[in-house]
Amino acid sequence: MNKIFLMSVVLTISGVLPALGNEGDPDNGNALYEIYCTQCHGISGDGKGINIADMSVLPRDHTDKDEMSARTDEELMKAIKHGGKSVNKSVLMPAWDSNFSDQQVDDLVAYLRQICCTN
């Protein structure tokens, strides 16, 4: 009896914990991405937005599965909140910390995961 109970508690917790770090809403992320990110990353997320003509480093292609799967969620969050510089990338990727709540950053990451890697 006790053992089964304990086991089910452990299973529940281990099932919930990873989900906690990844509760972003991709639909809301999609809406935010259009408003804030497409100016550089492009309407289809391919890195070819209207701003790129004079940019010395091109925006990441967010539909590039290989590059994007090489990043952890934490790395993506850090780049979004604190800018390219914080992850040893170009200053042309801005820091959005004061524009978004943590929830909104999670939503954006969930959307990035959708466009890079679900087909």
Binding site: A31, L32, I35, C40, K48, I50, N51, M55, P94, A95
Partner: protein, 233 residues
């Protein structure tokens, strides 16, 4: 309960005492009603709305115009409006997708209505009276100074990436933000510094990243817009 006598008295006073004022006010009210179809003339409390409201805005908010614009620029621009935002007020609505990437569909950008000299002056007076954010400007405590164009240009471009979204010359820079080569003529110095330091305080759903720059960098950037802007008068 209606007190008849007071009511009649009030109407009589209104008719006798203030005909000129009522007429002048209704002129401005009439003019501003048109502007209000697209521009926010009262604080819409953006913080209480979701970010998607930015997508539905038709034009820049004007409810803090008196904290933002130089009156001389305003009077001239209202008579002869030239495009400030190369990709419109909401860039994603004006994009053509092509093999080489996105480009601006300039044919979809509207022309702004132009006012007569008299209407422009009257409208500017009204807009300049709207100053809800004086405390933000004062907090920036910016005193214009000078620096070499070259150092300023590096600060604006290479070091901070402002040129990704803004043009500092008619033929150089990004297109999603307002052009900044006429910023010094258009905008009050205190507004420029305050907006660079904390754009989100002015507009919670601004398309400009907050960036959290330190005050010395903010001052250099504002001084650069001054030095650079003096070439474009």
């Amino acid at each position: 309960m209606i007190n008849h006598r007071n009511w009649v008295l009030a109407v009589t006073l209104l008719l006798a005492g203030t005909p000129y004022l009522v007429l002048a006010d209704s002129d401005v009210a009439q003019l501003m009603a048109d502007c209000g179809d697209c521009h926010a003339l009262n604080n819409p409390n953006y913080t209480q709305q979701s970010a998607t409201e930015r997508k539905n805005r038709k034009a820049p908010p004007l409810f803090y115009a008196g904290n933002k614009f130089n009156r001389t620029w305003l009077v001239a621009w209202l008579q002869n409006p030239e495009r400030i935002r190369p990709a419109g007020y909401y860039p994603p609505a004006h994009i053509l997708r092509g093999a080489d990437g996105d480009s601006v569909d300039t044919s979809s950008l509207p022309e702004h209505t132009a006012l007569s000299a008299a209407d422009a002056a009257q409208t500017a007076d009204y807009l300049m009276s709207l100053k809800p954010f004086t405390s933000l400007v004062e907090a920036a405590a910016y005193e214009p100074g000078t620096l070499s164009w070259k150092m300023g240009n590096l600060t604006f471009g290479k070091f901070n990436g402002c040129d990704a979204c803004h043009r500092d010359a008619p033929d150089y820079g990004g297109t999603s933000g307002p052009e900044l080569y006429t910023a010094w003529a258009r905008l009050q110095p205190g507004f420029i510094a305050s907006y660079i330091a904390d754009p989100v305080a002015w507009d919670p759903h601004t398309l400009m990243p907050g960036n959290s720059l330190n005050p010395e960098v903010v001052k250099k950037l504002a001084d650069y817009l001054k030095v650079n802007g003096e070439d474009f008068k």
